[in-house]
Symmetry: C3
């Protein structure tokens, strides 16, 4: 299924250059500085469940596409909030998936799936209604073998380091279990405090109380709350964390006077923030987090601009993260100014900003990252973690921000078997882009070779301090 | 004038693939599910008037470009609202057009015109000041022949079905005349109720009264008004309509309580809506139309985002639709939510949404269409019905929405002779895109062949239920 | 360092066409209708200072990129507002620049620098830490020779005419000195009245008083103020000006009644305008300027949409124009309507509009310029004066506005040695684009040849009336 030269430019000389560049970096280990794999997999090292549970039911890229063509989420095994019936027969789900595999034509999901089927499971035929059972049985059979357990795959995928993402309220028990196990795989956590930073998060006050307990401070005072963050950040650092991560609806930042922030925090605790005040508080906390980063060295990631759970019906029936998160127009120039005025000129700080609004690449983000020492551009994210998306990312950012204000690739996934595929796509697309620059006389070949290595490996380690 | 390989990729292997894909679909019949041809042409089957009346005076793509370079609209025969003098000598208009033909270099108009000149009228020389009279005489001569009458051209163009667009107040007399004539050409109507849905439309109250008369109900009550829609939709269906069409300034939808909608309707009838209330009413009516679509099966088309008649001077002198409609930034994520929350998860409903804001393709429309079963993406529209526009459309939507949440091509034109050219451009650009996917190893050739057929023919029939 | 075929398409037939087109225009003289070179250079004709002062310290493209990677602006010799220490040793600055030359990979700065090093100074090795001193000494040596003085370079660059930009308050002494010197180089000025049009400009009232003195009228009355503009415009015209230029934060225009404008002017003089009123006043003045253009024939340029001096810290320490100008989302459809309703249909007027928001090309600017006779599109500007930026500009504007509503190239630079490089990049990218149209069968080769000449030379002269 996999073309040796996939994603390379079609013109033969340029393709040749891309091939050479890729040959120099294809076997570099995987550095995965941001993602959502489950540390429990590596802690327990139990076999993955059936093929549908591995490839269909938990992958919002996959079930949203099937849903968009009228297939019920319950027919794909997506759980219901009310505990009502949903398909549990993996084979039935798999057949439905296989029968509709043509829907994925031209999508990155298709490339990732084919790559996993072929390179992880050794399947050579494109999935179809006809071979659905064969593929199901074959994958199920593999999954029962020791060499398909999480740790074995981790090693086979040549992952040098992978970061998971845990809530600030997490006890990191699985990370502790990995550590104690003596296994050598490097799995680190990242500090995600949305539940204790967003006054509109479910159970905000209870979260803050729990947060204080975990930190051993009274987190219901402003100074105690900030202290709790410092303590929890240190705890996460002790499990390898080198970054924090923040998923907000907008990129808004604020830099309030401490007194004002303290008062707003009390209002938030009392559940009396207006939506605007809640937004101000979230925005202010990004600047607080940046200040703590200057103290403890954690890299600050901002993932803004998704309208989460857009369908009221799907949210009510199936809950969060069910493929109905829709990007929105996002402003960065005004939004980031308070944070940048506070800490943007600090070269020892790293703030990595992502976008789901591609119009901001050339207009806002590349000019900002091409000026402020603290600001770096995260890679093409989510819907744009795709061949065209990555190509546009390079074409729209490089001329203004260069390569060295970007930070390499993130797979940002919970789909474990897609990790090698995703990194491979990124490496190929970057080599294709570099080959074009070389063929166009915009870059010398020796430089392109160095940049290819930087993009595939060095920049991620350096930017994320891994 | 026409290059056999036009619009195909330049690299030879990829070009070869595109050529093969195109060979498989070039001769498919034309399915034209949305457009603005005049049913009277097919009803009366009279000869088209002179070449200037066919190609220049009624084509806003053509006269706007000439106007932008300082040529007066009256010198192109565009009628004046005050009935004042405008050029009526077709030959003089044609000479002015020919002399300025270089202005169209690089535009789709140029491709459509050359295609019509060569394939419809057998002209082989590029239009110029020198051959203006020759071309004029030749085309005029053709137009006097029976094989250039509307029905003959319809058949020669191999149009399987074409949809016109009529106001909800139209009596469909030309469609009736076509039907009675016994001619076999399939010309269907579409339901366009802007004049009875938009409180700001000229003569809204009178329109509603006339609407009620046509439907045989009292349309000045809310329930009578909704009933009148149902009746008129059924009437349009009896003339082949499979869709309704809605041209609003924004994509805003609302889902009011019935009582609230009824009260707003009365306010609209009384001419007392504020602009905001008028907008709410229009938005609510899209949701009502969607609910009726669930009953009667009409496909709902939304064409939002054009600032109509932007120039006050041109509007005052020449009236509507004179080339001064300018696209505006359009939001879909917030705007469509009320409608999508009401009916977006219904797989039996089809809502086709278009855009003049290309930034919404990858950020908003592909993610929405790639999730909601009821939502499909209309093809690249208006200014983007062009080779680059179509290429961007595919590159920006396919990775997130796939091919099967799109609906094939619309020519959306009143320029009859451009119809084969426009479909040909779409087929070529799609084959070029598919060839690139094949050459890049992103799609297998057998799949590309199937998709090419889908995009050129099947999807339009299926999405529009034709 | 320079590839003969740089920036041409990679596919061989298309590359051949591009090469041919380029051969036909590469040696055309440079027409530079808008830029920021210093007329004093040509007036005094003194040697340029050291290499760092020529290439690093004054070039905001260069020092912003170095700054973004944590290099202090003071280490690059950027002056401080407080007069505090900043690096003055050219060689030290140069070494720092050379050591970090890899940061410019893939940027247009890199292409311009390499081009200047090779074609102006005859250097053939890529700049690096190793050869930093060699290059420094070589360039310094060149600069001491007569053939590297400003006038000699002007002639060697084959500049037919160059426009500088001066404040409406400038006495044009350097232009006077050039004129008196008898030197034949054509250096013209342009009228930039921001300091007397923007109520928020530092010292607005004093500026107006000085403005009146220079014009010999009382500029503190509304009619006297307008008269002063007329007088100063005439004065600028007497030094060759064919255009005015306006750098506003937005593209807003207004067309107030004269009485209202007069009252607002008094409020501005009194320093009592709200930000909104200041914006209205600026917007109104664009329409006044357009009306004066109808009288005196100056071309009106609008450069909107930059958030100037975004970093409070850099602004406080180093002042304006230090690489922290960030583009913002810009609306044109609503913003330009008042001006276009007033004068947009006048074919004898030329308003050239630029953008830093690329989303406006296809959505707003091409449709507007493709309709209004008075409106033309300026070339890809600032961050988009780059190979990819120019390619997107053509791809996004040509299909709707054609070539003849664009105005050729602007180098818009104060980096004198980059002028040939910038024009060369524009010529190559345009030839590459035209070659693609020819190879795709969208344009005949004889037409492409004519268009290439138009884009490289004729359109700039014609649009700017040079």
């Amino acid at each position: 299924m996999l073309d040796e030269d996939r994603l390379f430019p079609s013109e033969s000389r340029t393709r040749g250059i891309a091939r050479d560049l890729y040959a120099g970096i294809r076997d570099l280990p995987i550095v995965s500085p941001h993602g959502h794999t489950d540390p429990r997999w590596f802690a327990e090292n139990k076999p993955f469940p059936d093929p549908a549970q591995l490839f269909v039911t938990p992958d919002h890229y996959v079930f949203r596409m099937l849903c968009s063509q009228g297939i019920a989420l319950t027919d794909l095994g997506v759980p219901r909030i009310d505990g009502g019936p949903t398909e549990t027969d993996g084979r039935k789900i798999w057949r439905l998936f296989a029968k509709n595999y043509h829907l994925f034509r031209g999508t990155p999901s298709r490339m990732w799936l084919d790559h996993a089927f072929e390179t992880v499971f050794g399947l050579s035929q494109r999935l179809s209604a006809e071979n659905a059972d064969h593929h199901y049985d074959h994958i199920a059979d593999c999954l029962s073998k020791p060499e398909f357990r999480p740790r074995a795959l981790f090693e086979r995928f040549d992952i040098e380091v992978i970061a998971t993402t845990e809530s600030a309220l997490d006890d990191l028990r699985w990370h502790e279990m990995i550590r104690k196990s003596g296994w050598k795989g490097r799995v680190v956590t990242a500090y995600r405090p949305d539940s204790v930073v967003d006054p509109e998060f479910e159970g905000f006050r209870a979260n803050i109380e729990r947060f204080g307990e975990l930190a051993g401070t009274d987190a219901t005072t402003w100074t105690g709350y900030l202290e709790a963050h410092r303590i929890r950040r240190a705890f996460f650092k002790s499990y390898g964390a080198t970054s924090s991560d923040h998923g907000h609806a907008t990129a808004r930042t604020e830099n309030l006077a401490q007194q004002e922030a303290a008062a707003l925090f009390q209002k938030a605790l009392a559940g009396k923030c207006s939506p605007e005040e809640a937004d101000v508080f979230r925005g202010h906390m990004l600047t607080e987090m940046a200040r703590m980063s200057l103290e403890d060295g954690l890299v600050l990631q901002i993932h803004p601009g998704s309208w989460r759970n857009h369908s009221a019906e799907v949210m009510a029936r199936h809950g969060r993260d069910k493929g109905f998160d829709i990007p929105t127009r996002t402003d960065y120039v005004k939004a980031l100014k308070p944070l940048l005025d506070a800490v943007g000129m600090q070269p020892e700080l790293t703030v990595i900003v992502f976008t789901l609004d591609e119009t901001s690449y050339s207009r806002e983000l590349a000019p900002l990252a091409g000026a402020y020492p603290a600001l770096k551009l995260g890679p093409a994210w989510w819907f744009f973690d795709s061949p065209e998306g990555m190509r546009r990312y390079r074409e729209l950012t490089t001329e203004t921000a260069g390569f060295y204000n970007t930070v390499g690739f993130n797979d940002d996934t919970r789909a474990f078997c897609s990790i090698p595929a995703r990194h491979d796509v990124a490496r190929r697309v970057d080599c294709a882009y570099l080959a074009t620059l070389v063929a166009d006389g915009r870059l010398a070949e020796d430089e392109a070779r160095e940049v290819a290595h930087d993009l595939a490996y060095r920049l991620a380690k350096q930017a994320y301090r891994l």
